[in-house]
Symmetry: C2
Subunit: 335 residues, 2 copies
């Protein structure tokens, strides 16, 4: 097979079939995909389903700790899981630039395969388009996902109540800084690894331990600050978080200081925020910390009454300031 | 609001929220999307579900008879419908080039809204990414779709049997030629309109009239020739089609002749091929012809035994030649 992607690989003709047969099918093998029909026919257990989609345009495609393929699987898995759904099936749409290296494509596809295996999901349907050289910056990936919603839990951004505690599952800013450092060719003593990971296992443990959990979100674009603002607005409450309680890796803090970024606005791809009733917060924290992706989990703040939509940060030196949503664009193309 | 898309529109922050609130929500309004959670929670009727995805990179974005938005809705609706599913829900992922006109985006979104209304589907979840100027060629769209499979029918590319008849729902090549002519700025006396349309209504009528239908496909990329080759290979049968029975508009035939295209390989976005048992073929044809999108439907050939995977064309002058899958790329970026 050619070692580069040609426009004809997106034609629906012979080269397209070879790409499917030699690259995608061996990696994503499952009986549904193998039928190569225009649609996947799936059995879902009784119950309601959850459905989500994200496109991934991260630059560079490979970065310390992951690549666009791992990101495309984990991001969609996590969007289903934070809604309380068990992720089951993914679709994948590739938009590839003419001339893209076939061996890089294989690496990305293998990375998707591994992430899907860890998350316990199957890639059951897909599509590939090829665009001319100069467009698409290598490749873009869209994934959509279907999950089955867990019975008996009620998660919604509108659920946070004064008195609830706010949990964060680990250090912030790792993903955004890892991608930025890779893009800028930044040489640092201890390189920052992206935290990109499938969180459905950890989230399931959290729900088992704290079935009264009100809402979970993964603080991706816009970071913890933007996500908390969205939750505070949707629930018509205010929130107070404590700077000293928010876990940040030293190397992330250093890079942020040098470049003038606030880690509260930097994207994460392997973290969740959870709002939990006070009496279940310890159980929730324990469940998070027992999971490999939640070892640095912490209770970072609380939900408060009054001033709906406002998020306050109690600083290390005892001051208090309002943390707004991200206004512009701090770090483009980190997911 | 700004009149052009900025990188910050893809940031997940304030401008992103405005884009969602001012452009997407008013067009796609439905209670599920309005919740703006990271995932849509849906109720599906009892039964199995169908799931599909396609990315759309058509160039130009607007062409006679449609635009990328209409295409993105209809293409995914049709992929569900040809599998025998009733399309219900769509996701949409936009990848937009920095600087893209917001009024063009509104036009595309409105076109999606109209197509979704005609097809009876809801756009329930979505995502927007923005990439730097020079990439993405305006915009790319991915849609994924969920449908419920109809009970009691069994459609599969492996089902075609010798003796079955092959139906085509109308003229071929309209979409590919319309896009190509728009791209090349071709001035023709009677401009060709794309046939892009949601076919789920017509397909449902066909199934009612001919419940024994073996397989349906929409001959998009690679055209009728490539699709028939796929079906013949999957069912391990041969096929014979009659050149004189295949409907082609005069203006499409003329353009094809000038540019050296074979209409059998040109993409369609509003047509289906159906393989039907002989005794149900007349009923199927009548059902197609009664629908606005099937007025020019015809029985174009038959399934034959021997030489599995081969498709033969009986030419107008009485010869017979093998029609292969498309080998290279005839018309890039037509969908």
């Amino acid at each position: 097979m050619e070692d580069k992607i040609l426009l004809a690989h997106g034609s629906g003709g012979k080269l397209y079939r070879r790409l499917v047969n030699e690259v995608f099918l061996p990696a994503f093998q499952n009986p549904v995909l193998a039928k190569l029909e225009d649609q996947a026919n799936l059995t879902v257990p009784k119950g309601n389903i959850a459905f989500t989609t994200d496109s991934y345009v991260v630059n560079p495609l490979f970065f310390p700790g992951g690549d666009i393929g791992k990101l495309a699987v984990c991001g969609t898995v996590n969007d289903l899981a934070v809604g309380g759904a068990k992720p089951l099936y993914l679709s994948v749409g590739f938009i590839i630039e003419e001339g893209f290296s076939l061996s890089s494509l294989r690496d990305i596809v293998n990375s998707m395969k591994k992430a899907a295996e860890e998350a316990g999901v199957e890639i059951v349907t897909g599509d590939t388009k090829v665009v001319e050289k100069g467009l698409a910056d290598g490749l873009y990936i869209n994934t959509a996902g279907i999950g089955v919603t867990r019975e008996g839990i009620n998660l919604s951004s509108t659920n946070a109540q004064p008195g609830d505690l706010i949990l964060l599952s680990g250090t912030i800013g790792d993903h955004g800084i890892a991608v930025m450092a890779a893009r800028e060719g930044l040489t640092v003593m201890s390189p920052v690894l992206s935290d990109v990971a499938p969180l459905n296992g950890m989230i399931s443990d959290l729900i088992d331990a704290a079935p009264g959990v009100r809402v979970m979100r993964d603080p991706t674009r816009g970071g913890v600050a933007t996500t908390l603002n969205e939750l505070a607005a949707a629930s018509r409450v205010s929130m107070k978080i404590y700077e000293t309680e928010i876990p940040v890796r030293e190397e992330v803090a250093s890079v942020c200081e040098i470049f003038g970024f606030d880690p509260l606005y930097v994207a994460n791809e392997g973290k969740i925020l959870a709002v939990v009733p006070k009496d279940q917060a310890d159980d929730a924290l324990r469940a998070l910390r027992q999971h490999r992706y939640g070892r640095n989990a912490a209770i970072i703040g609380e939900v408060t009454a009054g001033n709906p939509g406002k998020v306050y940060l109690e600083t290390a030196i005892g001051g208090s300031r309002v943390i707004d949503m991200m206004a512009g664009e701090q770090l483009p193309r980190i997911c």
